[in-house]
Symmetry: C2
């Protein structure tokens, strides 16, 4: 059975992205200090062997339960769904061999032909909403799971639709003080949660929840 | 050396109290469902032996690392500081023997004589701000630690003053969707954090941070 899951990094004060982190400031990470804040939040992942290899940073890096979790996250995913902002930031950052190796459905108003990358990643631009993107992802996932990659507003839309099965958060010991919050605009569409697993490391606390 | 610390319960979406939890709705926990939400967030503590005894609910309850942590939290505290709202909610809820057993400094504009309770708790009403309350707490703590009990706005004031040494959060697997957020109004007064310890249980993930 295909599971729909979220696996993201989060600051302790609940932000997925610090204030100032936007495509127009991509080459200016000093702007509102967004680069350092984001780097602190994601420092745990930059050390992992699987991450370095997948982003073609070269060999090396840590192995262990967090690395295993990263590999499992990628291997279980038969399709990804993301928002336009996340795609645009990745478009200028990912290596030519984009690190998904599956179909990726991008929620956007922009009409654009599919963008095929070497290594198995194809980006499809979906103009008719999150429900249709999920349908397409389900068809192409071939029984594997579907990852809602982000950003915050996309995750909120799927949380409100009640379709997310698992929520995995790497909670980093950093405060952003502002930015885009993960949990916002949910109002009364609140899923019930159960703690599934916690992996603690000095860099982040990996919290895995099952949605009931 | 006296440490200044926070030890609170938090919903996964970052709220210390759900919307509707206010003194005027104290006898109406169905209002916006605040009673059930708060009860879910705090379910971990209601089971602990130390908590039940301290609130004179009677004997029984769980023992183990979380219970030990609760006892340690109370025993290390030589003084407490809280806001007016938390005091008012407690005033109608605590047993006659209030569960602090130390001086408690209440930040309020109300002028009121100290309120002495059996069992060693005396509430002092401080009208001249958080710095002065901290001074008084330090004098009376006798080398023991000072707990900033809450609510959110009081903790924010002390975070902004940069005086908090330790932040302990019992992160519960529940979403409130609204209410009083712990991390708000901090802007650029952001402490740096380090993970000190994590205790995981099915009811809450106990996250202990040291502030650098």
């Amino acid at each position: 059975m295909t599971k729909i899951f979220v696996n993201i990094g989060l600051s302790l004060d609940g932000y997925m992205a610090p204030e100032g982190m936007a495509i127009e400031n991509w080459n200016n990470p000093e702007y509102k200090n967004w680069g350092a804040k984001w780097g602190t939040m994601m420092s745990w992942i930059l050390k992992q062997q699987y991450f370095c290899e997948n982003l073609t940073f070269g060999l090396g890096g840590e192995t262990g339960p967090v690395n295993d979790m990263l590999r499992y996250t990628m291997e279980r995913s038969g399709a990804h769904i993301m928002g336009k902002r996340m795609f645009e930031q990745g478009e200028v950052s990912w290596p030519e061999e984009a690190p998904f190796h599956t179909p990726v459905y991008v929620l956007t108003h922009e009409k654009r032909e599919p963008w095929v990358r070497p290594g198995g990643t194809t980006f499809y631009f979906v103009n008719d909403g999150p429900a249709h993107a999920l349908e397409q992802a389900r068809e192409s996932a071939g029984g594997r799971d579907i990852r809602i990659s982000g950003g915050a507003d996309v995750i909120q839309q799927y949380l409100k639709m009640g379709v997310i099965d698992e929520l995995e958060i790497a909670l980093a010991p950093v405060l952003f003080g502002g930015g885009r919050r993960l949990f916002e605009n949910l109002h009364d569409t609140l899923p019930q949660l159960q703690i599934d697993k916690v992996i603690n490391t000095p860099d982040a606390t990996h919290l895995h929840y099952v949605l009931l």
